[in-house]
């Protein structure tokens, strides 16, 4: 038994086996059924939003963009229907990202990789590209045969390939095209783009996204999910025993046998598995796995194997959902003759829902009560204080007034703090000397230099808190900021 180990062989055969595995091309078969219909519907819905949203108009008045969803980078504004966000309000996006992440966790703890299977852009576009492929080159068997054929290509085959790639590129190009429309007025930009007057950056981005869509959906496909995406790993760490996943119910399926033998066994009153080993679940799988091997990292849980299996079960007269949304707990319970239990309300789903509700609630509250008038004050650093010829003290501040509304404002500035202070805004002749008034145009920021002068006698402290209170005298909205008034 003591076989001599040749280190040479060990090195070349075992340790040096390449870590790289070449992709095995996958030819998913077409399938019809409930989950396929859901996927078609969601695809139409998601792509419809993506491609058409830039063309939805929203009236914000004269001088403001009329596009419902617009990321206006040159003017640093984000428009979403009735919401207009400024750069300093990016925390709304942080909140949105928190909600999105926790929603993903919630989906996962309720029904597994719902995101991966139905909503992820990688899935949606790959599905669309497969549909194009199937339409032109035929279903699984035909495509396999065509690819395996070693005969010289005929004109028909060449034209098929050219047509497929042309349609893919067209979709990819449209995808890139829709992307840039979110960054500029869509109808104007479309007109510019087709007359070759568009900005270079738009063409570059269309090019980049055309390339990524074409490569990711046309070539890399399931490899993105298997090798590139972190979510399968995170999902595996986040899941629990109650989460429903696309599952092969081996309690029903095993032991696999043929239709005929199963009928014979059943006639004898013996147990026979429902799985007839037809490999339909494998044939339709877009990631090329066998769901009967149990939960796998590669499984995006698109539900197409459920459709495939249901069709077979119906044909052979056995109950459907041999593959379905289920978990191991219920498989064991059925094996023990108990009724399955589905527990959607669990600690984690409650916590996730609570986080979503809390973060969403805070965001909605801050959005609803967000002030359209704001003031920031910055004390001059050098010099912090100036002694004037009559001995009084002056402090200078940079005051930034933000008018986030769609109308011009008349703002009055009240300064409270040092005793007997006078206030002056550079470049502004105010009718009311101690209460300067300034007009701030709509949707702009005004930076003012504000000087506060106070007699030294009444203000002996080294530093006095000072409050800048700004009021829109037309509408009554107000905002304030605090700083200090210091002596030299």
């Amino acid at each position: 038994m003591n076989k001599t180990v040749n280190p040479n062989e060990l090195t070349s055969d075992d340790n040096c086996a390449p870590l790289y595995a070449a992709r095995k091309k996958i030819y998913p078969q077409s399938v019809s059924g409930t989950f396929r219909r859901i996927k078609w519907g969601l695809m139409a819905f998601c792509l419809g939003i993506y491609y058409l949203l830039p063309f939805v108009r929203w009236n914000r008045g004269i001088g403001a963009p009329s596009q419902a969803v617009l990321i206006d980078l040159p003017n640093s504004r984000f428009y979403f229907f009735f919401i207009e966000l400024w750069p300093q309000e990016v925390y709304y996006f942080t909140g949105l990202l928190i909600v999105a992440a926790v929603a993903l966790f919630l989906m996962n703890s309720v029904g597994g990789r719902i995101w991966c299977g139905y909503l992820c852009p990688q899935t949606v576009w790959t599905d669309l590209f497969y549909a194009v492929e199937r339409l032109i080159e035929g279903d699984r068997r035909e495509r396999m045969k065509k690819d395996a054929s070693s005969d010289p290509m005929k004109l028909e085959r060449i034209s098929e390939i050219v047509l497929k790639h042309s349609i893919w590129l067209l979709i990819a190009w449209w995808t890139g095209g829709a992307w840039v429309l979110y960054f500029n007025d869509a109808p104007t930009l479309v007109k510019e783009l087709v007359t070759f007057q568009g900005p270079m950056i738009a063409y570059i981005w269309i090019g980049i996204l055309t390339a990524t869509t074409y490569v990711l959906a046309g070539y890399m496909r399931e490899q993105v999910c298997v090798y590139m995406c972190p979510w399968p790993r995170i999902q595996a760490a986040l899941t629990d025993e109650w989460a429903l996943n696309v599952t092969y119910r081996y309690d029903r399926g095993e032991k696999r046998t043929s239709v005929k033998k199963a009928a014979e066994l059943r006639a004898l009153g013996e147990h026979a598995g429902d799985c007839v080993d037809c490999y339909q679940c494998v044939a339709v799988c877009p990631t090329g796995i066998d769901i009967r091997n149990g939960p796998q990292l590669e499984c995006i849980q698109c539900g197409l194997c459920i459709d495939a299996c249901d069709n077979v079960m119906t044909k052979i007269g056995r109950p459907t959902r041999l593959i379905g949304y289920d978990n191991d707990i219920n498989i064991h319970r059925r094996q023990e003759g108990k009724a399955p239990v589905y527990r959607v309300v669990r600690a984690r789903t409650v916590v996730y829902s609570a986080i979503i509700a809390a973060v969403g609630g805070i965001m909605l509250y801050t959005l609803a009560t967000r002030s359209l008038l704001d003031v920031n004050v910055l004390h001059d650093r050098n010099p912090v204080a100036v002694r004037l010829s009559d001995g009084s003290i002056r402090n200078a501040y940079t005051v930034r007034l933000l008018n986030k509304s769609g109308y011009d404002r008349v703002i009055a500035i009240d300064v409270n703090g040092p005793v007997n202070a006078t206030v002056h805004v550079v470049g502004v002749d105010s009718v009311t000397p101690d209460r300067p008034m300034i007009v701030i145009p709509r949707d702009t920021t005004s930076e003012l230099r504000l000087l506060v002068t106070a007699p030294a006698d009444g203000n002996p402290e080294k530093s006095i808190p000072v409050r800048f209170h700004v009021t829109d005298i037309g509408l009554g909205e107000a905002a304030s900021a605090t700083d200090n008034f210091v002596s030299p």
Binding site: N8, N382, P383, V386, S389, D390, A396, V426, G427
Partner: protein, 291 residues
Amino acid sequence: MTDHHNDIDSVSGRSTTGHEWDGIKELNTPLPRWWVITFYLTIVWAIGYWIVYPAWPLISSNTTGLFGYSTRADVAVELANLEKIRGAKMVALGAASLAEIEKDPALLALARAKGKTVFGDNCAPCHGSGGAGAKGYPNLNDDDWLWGGTLDQIMQTIQFGARSGHAKTHEGQMLAFGKDGVLKTDEIVTVANYVRSLSGLPTRKDFDAAKGEKIFAENCVACHGDGGKGNQELGAPNLTDKIWLYGSDEAILIETIGQGRAGVMPAWEGRLDPATIKAMAVYVHSLGGGK
């Protein structure tokens, strides 16, 4: 070349280089083919680079390359582009009067931004980055002005300077009364105390106010005016206020009176273009002390 390639090491299965020390052979581990090809390509690339771009130093110049490319020319083009971008706005600034600039929020913002940068580059060494000044260099934030604090007066001072040698410069200086033998030491101490009394600063107990007033009237009033209120025509400071360019200590005043003062502000006309000088005048005026 071939002999050592045939010498196969029995453990690793690799060929050796033929080098052997004490029975230890060096394995032949050549660089990967792709690496070697890339390396040769970089050499080819470098030769192309020498031809296309400026590369080799010559005795008094350098090779210029096929297209005469130069980074300096690039900078010149970029600067010209910058001028083009700024052009229209700076023209508007140059065309507007100083008062108009201060009344127009857009022009005021431009002038302040431009003025702040230019101030930092040219004025900050003496006046400080925020114009707070130093001993002998006026604070530009306060309301005390040697040569006047209106927009026009500030602009004039920036343009022509003070005691700068420019034909239109501000002239007038504090004479060295002690050094030049005009006043004796005890007279200087007396008048220094008198000057301190003008702004309510404490004086020596034995100081003779009447004598001080007499010396002041005979020597100082010509420039500083009756009561020491100063004269902006001559750059003579107001001696009755709380602001002192060199300081109000008795010792400093004795030094000032004895040795004189004649701080220099350079003329900026010719060094800065008119629009920039305008921007700077508006900026300095907006610091807060402007009249």
